[in-house]
Subunit: 201 residues, 2 copies
């Protein structure tokens, strides 16, 4: 699968495109940053981010988009800009019918480095190794966007299994039919049918 | 001038259109709410909000859009949704080249009630009186959107004077020319030229 990762920000939106499946070597298809100047209005910056993301989606036709989940524990001013930029990324993807998945920074770090509290540099180094690059991608936002895409590819089979189990459990609990096998099978079939769009939250 | 006010929210986006100029009775042109269901993904909700706002912009062709400025002091989960919805509102307006102005809740309350800490109900009552309606607009989000538009219309001449003064002052301070009158005049002329787009931040 081909995934476009977005590390959202008003000043710099990291973008990274990764192709592959879990358990196999992954390939970087593209990496970059959408930048907007600080001296224009927020509204105009959001329009520039929309145009930038649209170009990446047009050029790379990803099957899914992974966006960093924004928390508001951080710096107040930064977090509002991040939330606004992430809204534009989600909007661009969902408007095309692409599944959008949000991953927390800890999930991403844990996926690529094994540690949820890894340093920025460590993420860059692991991204470089996993994608067999000559050096860590720069700036850090670009490396983070690639890490998001990698995290998404690796988590997808796990997430699908989890969804399937949860649905099977829910059907089983709700079903009045005596045979649990039939209920679980129906849930599994249903999940397969929904899989292309079912990963959005 | 005709202003479309947006009280942003993921579940309910209040929309209100008001026409008039400061110092004259104002007219309500339209009021409503763009709603999205809580059981679809945030990305899909943002697409619905975009479609809803686009319809309002198409139908009422406002000259400016006023959006409530989001603060992150409030409830963490709510504020992220509000920031995301406000990003979509700003994006829709700026994409059309419309000036976007953000007003804080206190500015809006102070404008329509005279008190920055007014109650919700008081805002509704004042909006009803100012627009000569039979009853306060419901829900509160719709009343707030109208209050935003009223605030925008009333603040615009003041804001333009302020911008003009600030620019004149800046030119005057920077200018090496001996005549301050020429500098101030140039600044005023420049401000007038920028006025249609200059209100965005």
């Amino acid at each position: 699968m081909r995934v476009l990762g977005v590390d959202p920000g008003l000043t710099r939106c990291g973008i990274g495109v990764v192709e592959g499946v879990a358990g196999r070597p992954l390939t970087m298809k593209g990496v970059g940053v959408v930048r907007t100047p600080a001296d224009i209005s927020v509204a105009e910056r959001l329009v520039m981010i929309e145009q930038g993301i649209e170009q990446w989606l047009d050029r790379y036709s990803p099957e899914a988009v992974a966006v960093e989940r924004v928390f508001s524990q951080h710096n107040v001013r930064t977090v509002m800009g991040t939330a606004q930029a992430s809204a534009v990324a989600m909007l661009c993807a969902a408007r095309r019918g692409l599944p959008v998945e949000l991953h927390t920074p800890s999930e991403v770090k844990a996926a690529v480095t094994g540690a949820g509290r890894a340093e920025k540099a460590q993420v860059g180094t692991m991204v470089m190794r996993l994608l067999r690059l000559d050096e860590p991608p720069r700036p850090a936002d670009a490396a983070d966007a690639l890490a998001l895409a990698i995290c998404h590819i690796w988590r997808t089979p796990f997430q699908q299994r989890l969804n399937r189990l949860q649905q099977a459990h829910a059907r089983h609990a709700a079903a009045s039919s005596p045979g649990p096998g039939a209920g679980a099978q129906a849930a599994a079939a249903d999940d397969t049918a929904r899989a292309p769009k079912g990963t959005s939250r």
